[in-house]
Every structure is written in structure tokens, then in C-alpha cells.
């Protein structure tokens, strides 16, 4: 008989420090109840693009209407194909893989663009927090992909978070850059 299936392996996956976030699901029925609109992760995360050239209010407005999301804690081995397979379950448009600015190889982040907000919301609600390559998916809303965004902004070419990371992640190039001798 089948024992020990479907149990516990989610904890084995790597959790990112930044919590996943999603906007409050917008209702399609009129006169909705706030209780049905409630989402434990309904606030936008504190993660903000510091290079955004506009007010905080403008940025938040764009985020609330966006149909693009970013994912920053991917394994370096997660391919575009895998992301596509998973995220097409709610109607994907384009994937922009994040690349190391110098090496032009995958460095653990990507942008996923949907055709409309609803499809993106479905991804936020139902794919965020589940597994991809045995890592927990963490998505954030993004104001929209701009050319150049696909390159890591860390000094060594990868993501900023990998500059200062002290622990060892085999799926993200080992130790953080500054910790490597």
C-alpha cells in the first residue's frame, strides 16, 4: 500500500527571505464582501524597484494593474521551458530570463508576462508558493518588463542578493560573491 506519499517534501525546498506577495484579488461580482476579498498576502511587498523614475504612488498604481511578475529565487538550472510549462497553466505570454550581465548565463531570476491581468492573478494565486524544481516559487508584481532589466545588477554580474549572501546554495552558484575568496 502507498505510504508516505504527498507529504512533507515542501519543507525540503528552499524558502526565500522575501515573502511572496500578491495584490488583493479583484472580484467580478458586484457588491462583494471584504471578507471574500481578503488575501493573507494582499499587501504589495516592501520590495520596490529603486530605479523606478516616478512617485511611489505611481509605482503602486502600475503594480496594481500589472500583468507582469518577477521571480527572483530560481535555481540557476531552472530553464525557460520549465517556467513556461508551469506558468502556461494560466495563459502565459512571454518569459524574459534573467542573465548574468557579464557571463550572459542564467542567474536565478526571470520575468513572466501575461496577456492580461486575470491570467497573471491566477498565477499569483495558484502558482505562487508551490514548487518549481523543488524550490518554492516566489513571485512579485512588476511594473512591466523594460529592455535591460534582464541583466543582473550585482557588481559581479549576477543578482544583488547573491553579492551579499553568506550561506551556500548549490542551485545558485555556491556561496555569495563577497563570501567567495
Amino acid at each position: 500500500m502507498i505510504l508516505m506519499v504527498f507529504s512533507g517534501s515542501v519543507t525540503a525546498a528552499k524558502l526565500d527571505r522575501k515573502r511572496p506577495s500578491a495584490c488583493c484579488p479583484t472580484s467580478t461580482i458586484s457588491k462583494d464582501l471584504k471578507i471574500l476579498c481578503k488575501d493573507p498576502v494582499s499587501e504589495l511587498s516592501c520590495c520596490r524597484d529603486h530605479q523606478f523614475s516616478g512617485s511611489k504612488f505611481q509605482q503602486e498604481k502600475l503594480l496594481k494593474e500589472s500583468s507582469t511578475m518577477s521571480m527572483r529565487n530560481l535555481s540557476f538550472y531552472t530553464t525557460e521551458e520549465k517556467i513556461h510549462e508551469l506558468f502556461s497553466r494560466s495563459g502565459i505570454k512571454t518569459i524574459f530570463m534573467g542573465l548574468d550581465k557579464i557571463k550572459k548565463t542564467a542567474c536565478g531570476f526571470c520575468f513572466v508576462e501575461y496577456h492580461n491581468r486575470t491570467d497573471a492573478e491566477n498565477a499569483m494565486w495558484f502558482l505562487n508558493g508551490t514548487c518549481l524544481d523543488e524550490w518554492i516559487i516566489c513571485t512579485d508584481w512588476d511594473i512591466g518588463f523594460r529592455e535591460g532589466q534582464q541583466y543582473g545588477r550585482g557588481k559581479s554580474g549576477g543578482q544583488v542578493r547573491d553579492e551579499f549572501r553568506e550561506d551556500f546554495h548549490s542551485g545558485r552558484g555556491g556561496f555569495g560573491r563577497q563570501s567567495q575568496i
Partner: protein
């Protein structure tokens, strides 16, 4: 906590008063929505306290409270009896309020029906009927309403689904109020019952086979939903309306409530049928468990017990309320009241699969159910995973008779689920499939699951997770096949051009440079070279597509870039219908090991108009694809293609509507302003509308043509098979045939709204009486769905 906030505020400043009012309104909403949830106090004392607060707030917040209570009646049906009790208590304290509430509910019911919101209307009717139990509504007036409902069965020239709904609204309220209504008005109720019974006997059920998840009746027949409900109500009536499952808080308040004055429902005439009325689709009740499946725990109520109906209703309602937030949804499901008396996990799993496998479509997006089940596994790690594993096993065992569309969903669910649990599964338990014909459902299922699992991991991983005996069912390594790649290809026609192209691509050639290289490719279809150079030349297409796709094989992005960069060449080569078909053929030869790549390339080619939807349809039915015809990826491509076509038509229709509205607004302004220049503006807009009109007509024509092509092809291959079987004297029902005929059904079901527009053409042109009855039956079942 139940002290009214209003009583605490003093004489506020005007601005603060508005925000105070908003705060109070939010507070009221929160109090009302939260009642019934886990609390230190009993439900009864919470209800009493809340009734007191609301009564005190009536002078200032009556309309808001009315609106809130009507809304929870409509949107939180799983807490029906809690809110009817609350209304009962309010009515006992304030008769006028009770009357106004009933009026507001009737208004809301009428609005819901007019807006085709039939599913919510059922909850409103049920709420009203439970108000009889709370002494808010007088029983005879409720009986009168039900009389009017059931009299709809006498209406002529209306869709059956309309009559069905009114019968359903009546029957589905009886578990709550049957006892009370029978006690007060048994003769009238018997009459209504007799009318209902005669209607149920004469209504047609041609549509049922199309909606069943399994074609077999064992171990559980899947009954049409009204038949099942009727059997359940009959049984309840025989048991003298003794019903013990529903939570009835009003019983504790009987002494208060029975003192209350009741209201009569105004006479309710069902709104007439109009052309815009859209009634709910019929359903089949999905059952996979019975009392034998959980021998250790509490007994599962029988399929015709009213308890089963109520439990399933409530669980479906919880999902409907909370589907967007899986943590809340899971928490609400596992804390279902009365859970100790029923095998709750079995009910939950059954209800979730019922929705996932529902035909034509699940109520919510497929991926939601995957996430919900994962959440439930996390929440109840000691019990739910085992039930889910047991369910998976049962579904596997019954694959032979499972509807192909449902098998698709099973494949997608299972592979996605496994990817969240490190692909751990006891595959050896399924070794029976290894000795079966590879085209039969079980080995096919395993193959498709492994292919999907590979897409979420990588090839070697799949080889590692299954026993070596399963290697025949493992997917191919998704590599590119380049025919001009090795030594032996020297002799192939076009080989030298291919090498030339490869060099050109690598040195970042332009479209023009590619054209000039291709100019020299001979056309195997013609004796003389065509001087114009670009009529259909399969060899040109072959060398170009093979070489380009091979060089761009590294990733989806690389391939998309290649398609974009050489779009001009593609468009020219694929100008004719044969060209389009050949591009698809060659692409398929290159990528036949990588179905996912094929799907994204087809998608891209349609979007960039290198091929059109009809070409894809013809390609799918072509002989090159006959070997893969029953594979899931083929149908995913076809349905995705149809959806793109539909979206395209909708988009242009919307543009036309918007332009027309703009013109109407301009006309209105002109009549207001009397401005000369608007004549010119009108002209431009009118021209635009004319162009859009043409565009819409052309798009609709393309859409209609697409469906005609698809149906025609189905009829051809099915007829071929049927004729051959008759001549050979073999059985029609091969695995291929079952797959094919159910794929035809799937076209109807997945795109039913669009296809309804073309019914007349389909009936006159394709699905005529001369057609083989096997094929015609599918069309007739489809017609019966909304008849």
C-alpha cells in the same frame, strides 16, 4: 466586543462623521461576516449579541444592514442557517425590519434571475425557505411560491433547462424546509410533488452521456443531477422529513421566534423567458466513494441520502466562496461543522475531483484545484494524503471507461501534483499497464504523465524515478532532429544549400541574403524552374526551416528570435496553403521529440501570421500526424488554436462596438452643440466603422470555416473507421475510436458558446440524417444540452 460603535461616538465633526460612518459600516460587515466562526462564546450567544447590536444600529444604518444581510445570503450560502437565524431574531425584535428584508430579498431574487445569475438565485430561494423555519415567512406563502415555480414545467416553447432550474430551486430547498411545509400544507405539497414527478418522467435526457465522467455504471452510476436529487428527496419524504445533518441554530431560539409575527411572501411570478436568458447547464453527479472505502471511520452517507446532498452542497459552496484564497479555503473545508460524524476527507476529495472533472468545464481554473489539494495535504498531513493517494489509485483503475477530456485533466493534475512532492509515487503498483496494448488508456495515461513530469524536471530525472520496467513508457529525450546534420545526409537534395544557409545564419545574414541563397533551390514538384521563384516549393521550405530551427534549438527564446528575424522569409515561403502546411510538417519533423516546443512554435507562428488556424487544423488531421493523433499535445495545440481564433473575433467585435459607441456619443454631442466640424469627424469614424465591420465579417467567416474544417475531418476519419469495422466484422470500440469520438465531443463542449452560433450550418451541411448514427449521436447530445 458587541457594544455598538455608534453608541460610543459623541458629536463628531462633519468630516470625521463620514469616516466614522465608513468605519462603522466596515465594522458591521466584519461582525456579520465573522459570526459563526470559531469563537470563545457559543454560536447562540454570538447571534444574540449580534442581533442586539444590529437592532441598535437600525435607526442609522438600516439600508446598509439590509444590503449586507442580502449579500451574505447570496454569497455565503454555506452559512445559510446562521444568517436565517439572525434575521429571525431581528424580525422578532422589529417586525417592520423583517418585512423590509423579505422585500429586499425578493427584489434581489428578481435581479439575479434577470441577470442570468441562476446559481446565486438558488441560494436566495433556499434562504427564503429557511426563513419559514425562523418564523419570518409564513409557510403557506412559501408553498405558493413553489407552486408557481413548478408551474413553469407547463410552459411551452421554452428551453428544458429553464424548466429544470425552477424544479431544482424547489427540490433543493426541501432538505431545509420540507418538514415545515409538509406539516402546514401537505395536500398542496403533494400536488406540487405530483407535478414535479410527471415532469421528471417526461423530460428528455439525451445530453447525459456527453456529461458523464465514466461510460460505465459500475461501481457508481453517474446520475443526471435532477434524477439524483429527486431520489434523495423521495427518500427524505419516506423518512418523514427527518433530517439530522443541517445545523439549525434557530432551534435554540424557538421560544423567542415562535412569538414573532410572520410575513407573507408577495405572489411571485417567474420572469418570462427571453432571448437573452441563459440557464445553467445540466450536470451529472460525480461519485467515486461509498461507505466501503473508509471502513475504519464514520460511515459515508449513501448516494440517495439527503445528508450526502447537503454535505456536497456545502462543500461546493465553501469552494465557491473562497477559491481565490487557498489557505482560507482549505481551512474552511477541514473545519466543516459536524465533521466528526462523516468521513470528511473523503467528501472533500470527492467534491474537489467532481469539480475538476466537471463537463463541459470546471467551475474554476484547473490549477486552483491542484493548489488546493496541496494546501489540504499540508494542513492535514496525517490523513488527507492517504485519501488522495487512494483516490488516485481508484481513478487509475477506472481509466478504461473514463472520458478522454477527464483523463486529460487527470494527467495535468497528477503530474503537477507530483512535481510538488519530488515525483514520489509507487509506480510498481501500476505494472499491470506494461503488458497492455500501448494504445489502451492505462499505459497511455502513464506515458502522458511521465511526459508532463519531464517538462517540469528533466529527462534523466524521469528515467530515475520509475522502475526500469517502465522505460518503454518514458518520454523521448527532447532533442532536435536535424536531417542535414551528419555525414550520411550528403546525398540528400538541398544538402549543400542547407550548409550554405547555416553559414549565412551564423554570420547574421539578412532576409534578402537568405532569399538569394534559396533562389537556387530546385523545385521537386516542377519540371522547369519557376522564374518568379516563389510558388510552393517544398524543398526550399525544408532546407530553410530545418536549418534555422536547428540553429535556434537552444531555447524557446532563441527559436522565437529566429522566427522574428526571418519573418519575411517565412511569410513568403508559406504564402500558399500548401506552404503553410509544409512549414508545419517540417517543424514537426525537427521537433517531434519535444512536443512542448512544437506547441510554442505553432502558437508563435499563428500569432505572427506565418500560418493560419485552418492550416493547423488541416495539419493535425494529416497523415503525418496520424501516429501521434491520440497524444495529448496534439489536442492541446488544436484547442489553443481555436481559442486564439475566438479571442481574435472577440477583439475585433469589441473594437467595432467601441467605434460605434464613439460615433453615437459624437452624434449626441452634435445634436447638443450644432458644430459643423463634427461632420468631418463623423466621416472618418464612419469609414473606420465600415472597415471594422468588414474585418469582423471576415474574422467570423474564418472562425466558421475553422470549425467546419475540423468537424469535416472528424466525420471523414470516423466514418472511415466505422465502415472498415463493418466490412471486417470487427468491433467498432477500439481505444483509437473511443479517443477520437470523445475528442469530437470535446470540441463541442469546450467551445459550446461559439458553436451554438453555427448550429444551423452544421445541421444542414455536416450533421445530416445520412451520417452514421454513432457520429450523429454526438451532435444530438450537444443540441440537447441547452434545448
Amino acid at each position: 466586543i458587541y457594544r455598538s460603535k455608534h453608541m460610543e461616538s459623541g458629536q463628531p465633526h462633519k468630516r470625521r462623521k463620514t469616516s466614522d460612518a465608513n468605519e462603522t459600516e466596515d465594522h458591521l460587515e466584519s461582525l456579520i461576516c465573522k459570526v459563526g466562526e470559531k469563537s470563545a462564546c457559543s454560536l447562540e450567544s454570538n447571534l444574540e449579541g449580534l442581533a442586539g447590536v444590529l437592532e441598535a444600529d437600525l435607526p442609522n444604518y438600516k439600508s446598509k444592514i439590509l444590503r449586507l444581510l442580502c449579500t451574505v445570503a447570496r454569497l455565503l450560502p454555506e452559512k445559510l442557517t446562521i444568517y436565517t437565524t439572525l434575521v429571525g431574531l431581528l424580525n422578532a425584535r422589529n417586525y417592520n425590519f423583517g418585512g423590509e428584508f423579505v422585500e429586499a430579498m425578493i427584489r434581489q431574487l428578481k435581479e439575479s434571475l434577470k441577470a442570468n445569475n441562476y446559481n446565486e438565485a438558488v441560494y436566495l430561494v433556499r434562504f427564503l425557505s429557511d426563513l419559514v423555519n425562523c418564523h419570518v415567512i409564513a409557510a403557506p406563502s412559501m408553498v405558493a411560491m413553489f407552486e408557481n415555480f413548478v408551474s413553469v414545467t407547463q410552459e411551452e416553447d421554452v428551453p428544458q433547462v429553464r424548466r429544470d432550474w425552477y424544479v431544482y430551486a424547489f427540490l433543493s430547498s426541501l432538505p431545509w424546509v420540507g418538514k415545515e411545509l409538509y406539516e402546514k400544507k401537505d395536500a398542496e405539497m403533494d400536488r406540487i410533488f405530483a407535478n414535479t414527478e410527471s415532469y421528471l418522467k417526461r423530460r428528455q435526457k439525451t445530453h447525459v452521456p456527453m456529461l458523464q465522467v465514466w461510460t460505465a455504471d459500475k461501481p457508481h452510476p453517474q446520475e443526471e443531477y435532477l434524477d439524483c436529487l429527486w431520489a434523495q428527496i423521495q427518500k427524505l419524504k419516506k423518512d418523514r422529513w427527518q433530517e439530522r445533518h443541517i445545523l439549525r441554530p434557530y432551534l435554540a431560539f424557538d421560544s423567542i421566534l415562535c412569538e414573532a409575527l410572520q410575513h407573507n411572501l408577495p405572489p411571485f411570478t417567474p420572469p418570462p423567458h427571453t432571448e437573452d436568458s441563459v440557464y445553467p447547464m445540466p450536470r451529472v453527479i460525480f461519485r467515486m466513494f461509498d461507505y466501503t472505502d473508509d471502513p475504519e471511520g464514520p460511515v459515508m452517507p449513501g448516494s440517495h441520502s439527503v445528508e450526502r446532498f447537503v454535505i456536497e452542497e456545502n462543500l461546493h459552496c465553501i469552494i465557491k466562496s473562497h477559491w481565490k484564497e487557498r489557505k482560507t479555503c482549505a481551512a474552511q473545508l477541514v473545519s466543516y461543522p459536524g465533521k466528526n460524524k462523516i468521513p470528511l476527507n473523503y467528501h472533500i476529495v470527492e467534491v474537489i475531483f467532481a469539480e475538476l472533472f466537471q463537463l463541459p468545464a470546471p467551475p474554476h481554473i484547473d490549477v486552483m484545484y491542484t493548489t488546493l489539494l496541496i494546501e489540504l495535504c499540508k494542513l492535514q498531513p496525517g490523513s488527507l494524503p492517504q485519501v488522495l493517494a487512494q483516490a488516485t489509485e481508484m481513478l487509475y483503475m477506472r481509466l478504461d471507461t473514463m472520458n478522454t477530456t477527464c483523463v486529460d485533466r487527470f494527467i495535468n493534475w497528477f503530474s503537477h501534483h507530483l512535481s510538488n512532492f519530488q515525483f514520489r509515487w509507487s509506480w510498481e503498483d501500476w505494472s499491470d499497464c506494461l503488458s497492455q496494448d500501448p494504445e489502451s488508456p492505462k499505459p497511455k495515461f502513464v506515458r502522458e504523465v511521465l511526459e508532463k513530469c519531464m517538462r517540469l524536471s528533466y529527462h534523466q530525472r524521469i528515467l530515475d524515478i520509475v522502475p526500469p520496467t517502465f522505460s518503454a513508457l518514458c518520454p523521448a529525450n527532447p532533442t532536435c532532429i536535424y536531417k542535414y546534420g551528419d555525414e550520411s545526409s550528403n546525398s540528400l537534395p538541398g544538402h549543400s544549400v542547407a550548409l550554405c544557409l547555416a553559414v549565412a545564419f551564423k554570420s547574421k545574414a539578412t532576409n534578402d541574403e537568405i532569399f538569394s541563397i534559396l533562389k537556387d533551390v530546385p523545385n521537386p514538384n516542377q519540371d522547369d524552374d519557376d522564374d518568379e521563384g516563389f510558388s510552393f516549393n517544398p524543398l526550399k521550405i525544408e532546407v530553410f526551416v530545418q536549418t534555422l530551427l536547428h540553429l535556434a534549438a537552444k531555447s524557446f527564446s532563441h527559436s522565437f528570435s529566429a522566427l522574428a528575424k526571418f519573418h519575411e522569409v517565412f511569410k513568403t515561403l508559406a504564402e500558399s496553403d500548401e506552404g503553410k502546411l509544409h512549414v508545419l510538417r517540417v517543424m514537426f519533423e525537427v521537433w517531434r521529440n519535444h512536443p512542448q516546443m512544437i506547441a510554442v512554435l505553432v502558437d508563435k507562428m499563428i500569432r505572427t501570421q506565418i500560418v493560419d488556424c485552418a492550416a493547423v487544423a488541416n495539419w493535425i488531421f494529416s497523415s503525418e500526424l496520424s501516429r501521434d493523433f491520440t497524444r495529448l499535445f496534439v489536442w492541446e495545440i488544436l484547442h489553443s488554436t481555436i481559442r486564439k481564433m475566438n479571442k481574435h473575433v472577440l477583439k475585433i467585435q469589441k473594437e467595432l462596438e467601441e467605434a460605434k459607441e464613439k460615433l453615437a456619443r459624437q452624434h449626441k454631442r452634435r445634436s447638443d452643440d450644432d458644430d459643423r466640424s463634427s461632420d468631418r469627424k463623423d466621416g472618418v469614424l464612419e469609414e473606420q466603422i465600415e472597415r471594422l465591420q468588414e474585418k469582423v465579417e471576415s474574422a467570423q467567416s474564418e472562425q466558421k470555416n475553422l470549425f467546419l474544417v475540423i468537424f469535416q475531418r472528424f466525420i471523414m476519419i470516423l466514418t472511415e473507421h466505422l465502415v472498415r469495422c463493418e466490412t471486417d466484422g470487427t468491433s467498432v470500440l477500439t481505444p483509437w475510436y473511443k479517443n477520437c469520438i470523445e475528442r469530437l465531443q470535446q470540441i463541442f463542449l469546450q467551445h459550446h458558446q461559439i458553436i451554438q452560433q453555427y448550429m444551423v450550418t452544421l445541421e444542414n451541411l455536416l450533421f445530416t440524417a445520412e451520417l452514421d448514427p454513432h457520429i450523429l449521436a454526438v451532435f444530438q447530445q450537444f443540441c440537447a444540452l441547452q434545448a
